[in-house]
């Protein structure tokens, strides 16, 4: 496994909600990254944004790891969930709430 794959694996393990996107949490550079940040802000759980805008090698590795061509890329509790296109549909089916409370050890 390459150093970059290790780096990604560590990042995914470290953050329960992780967004690989263009720009940072405070200075996003792309509308879809903004949408994804806003999506998770609604739920109030902590999340991390990792800027890969200028890191083509990391973006290529992420594309290979996830077999998903675009950014942003969202990981929840170590699992890949694509972008807001998917998250919005999952939310409409009520799949996000249980997923997040499970990830954060929800006090059911």
């Amino acid at each position: 496994m390459s150093a970059i794959e290790n780096e990604i694996k560590e990042e995914i393990k470290k953050h329960k909600i992780l967004i690989y996107g263009k720009g940072t949490k405070t200075a996003p550079q792309c509308g879809f990254t903004v949408e994804t940040i806003q999506f998770f802000q609604k739920y109030g759980h902590p999340f991390e944004v990792i800027n890969v805008l200028n890191n083509m090698e990391k973006r290529e590795t992420l594309n290979k790891l996830t077999n998903w061509p675009t950014l942003p890329k969202v990981f929840i509790d170590g699992k890949f969930y694509g972008d807001t296109d998917i998250l919005d549909e999952m939310e409409a089916k009520g799949e996000i709430e249980p997923l997040l409370s499970a990830a954060f050890g929800g006090n059911k």
Binding site: P69, T70, D85, E89, M90, K93
Partner: protein, 79 residues
Amino acid sequence: MISVADLIALVKKEMPDAEVDVMDKTGMRDHFIVHVTSEKFDGMSIMDRHRTVQGSLTAAMQDGRIHAAEIKTAIPSRK
């Protein structure tokens, strides 16, 4: 750039039974909203549905004909 008709044809090649509605978001023919309704999605996870649609557009995404495609999937509503 790609025409709406060509984009629909790409999706239908993968999913002949699907109903595909495409909206050109900016009029520049490279930012699209793609609504795909198909019986085949029934029982498929949201992720798999999107992978299927993404898969049909991969070539056009890689060669730049499509810059961004917002995908929405649905199953035909039972009457």
